[in-house]
Symmetry: C2
Subunit: 104 residues, 2 copies
């Protein structure tokens, strides 16, 4: 389960991709529309959207002849909760080890 996190992080790691995702969090948009706003080609935008979609961070909907993409908060929320759980586990375990060391 924790292994499934790496792809999501990889999707979020790129600055441009993160910017696109943040932009879609403000309002849905098509790939062509995004290409006009960002200083990169439409194809680059499309590829980023594919990556984001593969990690379920964006969803796509057909509006007329356009494909409108929007950011999905749910997945991000899942990741957040999992991180909290992991962080807590670490703290407990390491505190325990430290206690053992001081008991010598």
């Amino acid at each position: 389960m924790t292994a499934s996190l790496a792809p999501v992080f990889a999707a979020l790691a790129d600055d441009t991709r993160w910017a696109i995702l943040a932009r879609l969090g403000e309002a849905p948009a098509s790939a062509s529309a995004l290409a006009r706003e960002f200083p990169i080609s439409r194809q680059a935008i499309v590829k980023h959207l594919e990556v984001l979609k593969a990690s379920a961070l964006v969803e796509t909907e057909q509006r007329g002849r356009e494909l409108v993409h929007r950011a999905v908060g749910g997945r991000l929320n899942d990741v957040a909760h999992e991180l909290e759980r992991i962080a807590e586990t670490w703290e407990h375990r390491l505190a325990h080890i430290k206690r053992l060391a001081e008991a010598e």
Copy 2:
């Protein structure tokens, strides 16, 4: 602020690095010790530790002549909370837009 997240994601994105971090979450260890456990060279381990340290995901302590590294839950927790906040913002904003669209 949201821009400061990208480096952390980049640090967490690599499978090997994530595995090292998880390992350090179970118990502290030196770079050489990790190199014995993982199928990669010590130098590779060291580089991963540098990245993790740069994102404040691990801390280092001198024990005798060894450098002992341990995972830090705090930073991960910060990231988790920020992600929750962002996800919530998206949901609100997009729900608002959807409401407007249906009001037509």
